[in-house]
Symmetry: C2
């Protein structure tokens, strides 16, 4: 099962794929992306990902050459060719190729690229016991709701997590208010109420967050969009994160403080089960 790349129409093995040096994605990070999870050979929540991809492109003035339908067909073909049943699809578009001193490249054709790669499953022990996290200062630019390639602060935060044997870095602003994880949304459960930050432009509007919020409302959980500090988060009864790869994953430790009883809490467990049911409803088996 090869990991495959597709770059402006050309399919190669993932690590043979090349892009132009003068692509403004490489020189400036001038591009946006999506990451989709493939279950049973089918990408999950494709339309929601494409909605966000189109919003992101518009925000940074990239006009795609292909329609949504054409893009999804290419994704599906690439997944089929890779023969992966469970994998990650990564989709990226940049402003394209041109002189470095031209910021807008009015005549350039965007570079569309994607790949299908192996996605390691979440450890069973992480599912049962939750994961360790660290708090890192949110040093990002003013528009993290745009899913752009300017990810250096996220990567540096992830490296701090890695050095501390943590799974994720939870970002907090200068006042100690949690924004989100370096690559996830963050939720606290206080008594029986699930709380997460509103999509106020300072966080990414996660697709797993979107799906889970529907599930939360359909199943009658108490739910509130609100702000919380890192100190409040540490005192929550349960804490969990969501993203495409990790789905719904309990946090059992924040900067060395144990959360709840240090295991995946009952509400988190229930939400994970409901999320997987939702995946199974959408994905044909």
């Amino acid at each position: 099962m090869p990991e495959l790349a597709w770059v402006n129409g050309e399919i190669t093995d993932l690590y043979d794929a090349k892009v132009p040096f003068m692509d403004h994605g490489y020189l400036f990070g001038y591009g946006v992306y999506e990451a989709l999870k493939v279950y049973n050979g089918q990408p999950f929540s494709v339309e929601e990902h494409m909605d966000r991809f189109e919003r992101s492109m518009k925000e940074i003035r990239i006009k795609p050459e292909l329609s949504r339908k054409e893009t999804i067909e290419i994704i599906n073909d690439l997944v089929a060719k890779s023969e992966y049943q469970d994998a990650l699809v990564y989709l990226q578009i940049t402003r394209g190729v041109g002189p470095r001193n031209n910021p807008s490249l009015p005549k350039a054709k965007p570079t569309l690229s994607m790949f299908v790669a192996y996605l390691p499953p979440i450890d069973d022990s992480f599912r049962q016991n939750g994961v360790k996290t660290v708090i890192v200062k949110d040093d990002r630019w003013a528009h993290p709701h745009i899913k752009s390639l300017n990810l250096l602060p996220n990567i540096l935060a992830k490296q701090i997590a890695e050095e501390n044997d943590a799974f994720e870095a939870i970002l907090a602003d200068k006042d100690g208010i949690v924004t989100e994880g370096a690559s996830s949304n963050v939720y606290a459960v206080f008594k029986d109420t699930i709380v997460t930050r509103p999509t106020d432009g300072r966080i990414l509007s996660g697709i797993t967050r979107l799906v889970l919020c529907k599930i939360i409302q359909q199943n009658g959980f108490n739910y509130k969009e609100d702000y919380f500090t890192t100190e409040q988060l540490k005192e929550a009864d349960e804490v969990f994160i969501t993203n495409t790869g990790a789905e719904v994953l309990a946090v059992s430790d924040i900067d060395g403080t144990k959360i709840g009883n240090g295991l995946c809490g009952p509400i988190t467990k229930k939400l994970y089960d409901l999320f997987i049911q939702e995946v199974n409803r959408e994905i044909r088996r």
Copy 2:
């Protein structure tokens, strides 16, 4: 005279040069760069640029494989091969190639790349009459002193400048305090005192700024590192910007407000002449 690229040892025409799709420079903007001006076939202030390049690499944990001496030799060879007498040298290093879900790539070899390209001279009328600028909100991350590839906010600011027929975007924080230009440092002259923002981590420490500050001090100008608002800047007697390409360039218009008499002021003119003298001292003719 070909525009040439050098990528990890391979020399090609600039627009034939390729880099790996899975380079973390392309996926995350995980890299840093320098831009040097070539006068009479010789890059100016090479050691100062290399000092900053090494500081930038260290800040984001990239360890170069080549020594400074080896890198400078490659730059000089590439300039010689290009046959350009006056040009831009662009130098970039990224964290290298590896799986997207590995933030630190401990075993990856960094991707070193560079190019020599034509650099259009500054219009004579810009030299005489100064340039138009616009004020744009500084939306960048918390560490703009690192010369990283995460340049999306700079590019979007440059696009706003372009749309307003302006040469540069002057960035200001939420309190209206000027940080720097999207690709330049900014200076105000109040009466006979030259003022520019201190290198406090919120601006890039420009190499032209560094050279000019020495010139300012050696020639007994009144000089102060201090903060100023956009409103104060508009009331200055002279305003100018510096960067590698534009050297020392007068600003005659900020958001439609004329600065001074709307021409290049006497102090700016004097500093430009002294800067060119400094270039001529360093460059062998």
